[in-house]
């Protein structure tokens, strides 16, 4: 039968113990940093702001225009090319006619854009514009930006949408 002898250690750590402790602290620190970074990456990949404004009528970034959008067929189908109508007005509701408008889209979580190059092809009158070539190739959080230029007044409006 073995006898276990317990020897009480002096309170002053030996150099070897100090080294081990330092390794443990540094190692633990590195693990913590990795865990935080990994968590941050996961959070970023899945992050959709909880206060995301999904409204279909929004003011442009500088407040120059008030813009609404509506898919022509009522809803957006994934992977189907389709058209939108957008309505551009001043903040007090006066229609903005004959503006030059460009469109772009993006998936903030994936870092890729639309599979097509949509264009505003026609002013339908009364501040309504036809947007053709819209297509979203997957579900998730999308942003669509319209940059509106009317008599040198240039401003961009961003719409958010969660597609399923």
């Amino acid at each position: 039968m073995n006898t276990v002898i317990t020897v009480s250690q002096p309170q002053i750590a030996s150099p070897r113990q100090r080294l081990l402790r330092r390794i443990a602290i540094i190692g633990g620190g590195i693990l913590l940093v990795i865990a935080v970074l990994f968590g941050a990456l996961l959070a970023w990949m899945n992050y959709v702001p909880s206060d995301l404004d999904l409204s279909t009528t929004r003011h442009s970034n500088q407040g120059v225009y008030q813009v609404s959008y509506a898919p022509r067929r009522g809803l957006i189908e994934i992977n189907q090319i389709h058209a939108w109508t957008i309505h551009v007005a001043t903040p007090d509701g006066q229609p903005v006619t004959d503006a030059v408008i460009t469109v772009d889209g993006d998936m903030p979580q994936h870092g890729h854009g639309l599979p097509t190059r949509p264009q505003v092809t026609k002013h339908l009158g009364n501040g309504d514009y036809l947007v053709e070539g819209m297509k979203f190739q997957m579900g998730g959080w999308w942003v669509v930006d319209f940059t509106i230029d009317h008599h040198g007044q240039r401003d961009t409006v961003r719409f958010n949408m969660i597609l399923k």
Partner: protein, 448 residues
């Protein structure tokens, strides 16, 4: 030990436990799917395939008579320069409408791998580089290719006038009188063959127009037939169906744990789903995945050349031979044309039945699924342009799991069996070319 040291040790231990627990949670193989994952799997399920949209560019796209005529044309070897090549020569019904060869072989050898046909009616772009924007325009490419069917459009219109007159006229109206050989030479078309090209150029513009319209209609009938070729259910689809019904026994019966683990990699760590999504396992877009150049072939710029060709194509959606209105041609009008990223992009094919379709990639560069997976795992630089791939860091076990999953995507076509062979009325004619006929009759039928 002082209090602060003790706190430090406890803190360290807690951090380590949290890190290990998090890692274990994320990496441990799970048999259950979250709500989000279930939504993803439902999206891949064959039951999510919507009904096929009409093709406004082809007014006979869904006409049963056009399907029947297209089926005859598809198997007709008279539509070739040597009387031996039909669409079905490379698109073999018994082999998932492809030929299992690295490069297609008609009257000569092409520079690309023959693509399968099931479900391609859903794609806005045809061919590996999307140089055609409809099934009917696609069908017209190989017919005048010097290495595929090798013939010319006047030759085909003469075949039509002789052997398909009644069904053609029922669908498309009266055929013009093509009997004057000086106006309508036996072989003439905008093809590589200098004699046929010269004959074409010496024809009157209105005669060329009349011939081209008939030629386009050949494509439209073939397209009507091809729209009927649909993929069917696989074990993967049975698994998703069981999952949606909360039937764990059914799930276990459909996929082995290894295959299910491969599916988890497919939609997760391996990122396959980024391009192979939707019920056809393709987004029908274009990607540069750094696939090596095939030895001995000229440089292939993929979509960069394909998008220029489709914009100039005489049979595109906006052409005089299309039945579509301008607003129906959104894919063509709003295609990405100016992007440097188009260089060496190719279309991801459907992965349904992928295990039955070696070799892989646009020129059959990889002989096995394992080689394909190793390519994606290693993510080498592209020979031209920029590869979108990043190394995946998949282990040997994970590669095996992914391959097992891909093999679960095999299933039979959801196509009426009578469409998978030459129509009965064609048997006699196939007898004229026993060699070609033997090739075209499915393996389970006795040769004529």
């Amino acid at each position: 030990m002082s209090m602060s040291r003790k706190t430090l040790w406890i803190g360290l231990a807690a951090t380590t436990i949290i890190v290990i627990a998090t890692a274990a949670y994320l990496l441990w193989p799970r048999s259950e799917w979250t709500k989000e994952e279930t939504t993803t799997l439902r999206g891949l399920w064959i039951g999510s395939l919507p009904p096929l949209s009409p093709d406004p560019s082809n007014r006979v796209a869904d006409n049963p008579q056009a399907v029947a005529m297209g089926q005859r044309l598809f198997f007709d070897t008279r539509l070739s320069s040597n009387g031996k090549v039909a669409c079905a020569t490379c698109h073999l019904p018994a082999q998932d409408f492809q030929d299992g060869k690295p490069l297609g072989e008609g009257v000569g050898t092409t520079t690309r791998r023959t693509m399968p046909l099931a479900g391609t009616a859903y794609s806005p772009w045809l061919f590996w580089d999307g140089r055609k924007d409809s099934l009917w325009a696609q069908a017209l490419g190989p017919l005048e290719s010097a290495v595929e069917h090798g013939g010319s459009r006047t030759q085909y219109t003469h075949v039509l006038a002789q052997h398909y007159r009644a069904e053609y006229e029922a669908l498309f109206g009266p055929l013009p009188d093509l009997s004057d050989p000086t106006r309508f030479p036996a072989s003439a078309g905008p093809v590589d063959d200098p004699t046929a090209r010269q004959a074409w150029e010496s024809m009157a513009p209105e005669d060329r127009e009349a011939v081209t319209r008939i030629y386009a209609n050949i494509g439209k009938a073939i397209a009507a037939y091809e729209r009927k070729l649909m993929p069917g259910s696989s074990r993967f689809d049975q698994y998703v169906e069981a999952l949606l019904n909360n039937n764990t026994t059914g799930m276990r019966a459909a996929l082995t744990p290894q295959e299910a683990a491969g599916l988890r990699l497919f939609v997760g760590k391996a990122g396959c789903i980024n391009c192979h999504n939707g019920p056809l396992f393709t987004n029908n877009d274009f990607h540069n995945t750094g696939v090596p150049a095939a030895a001995g072939l000229p440089e292939d710029t993929g979509r960069a050349a394909g998008v220029r060709q489709v914009l100039e194509d005489e049979f595109n959606c906006l052409s005089a031979y299309s039945d579509a209105q301008e607003e129906d041609c959104g894919e063509l009008r709003f295609a990405k044309t100016d992007d440097h990223a188009l260089e060496r992009q190719f279309k991801p094919p459907s992965l349904r039945d992928v295990a039955e379709r070696a070799p892989y990639m646009h020129a059959g560069q990889f002989a096995t699924l394992r080689q394909v997976l190793e390519h994606y795992n290693n993510a080498p630089d592209a020979p031209h342009g920029h590869s979108e791939l990043k190394p995946l860091g998949l282990s040997e076990q994970e590669l095996v799991q992914l391959e097992a999953f891909l093999r679960s995507l095999s299933g039979s076509l959801n196509t009426p069996p009578e469409l998978l062979a030459p129509p009965a009325s064609q048997a006699m004619c196939l007898g004229c070319h026993p060699e070609a006929a033997a090739q075209l009759v499915p393996a389970d039928q006795p040769p004529p």
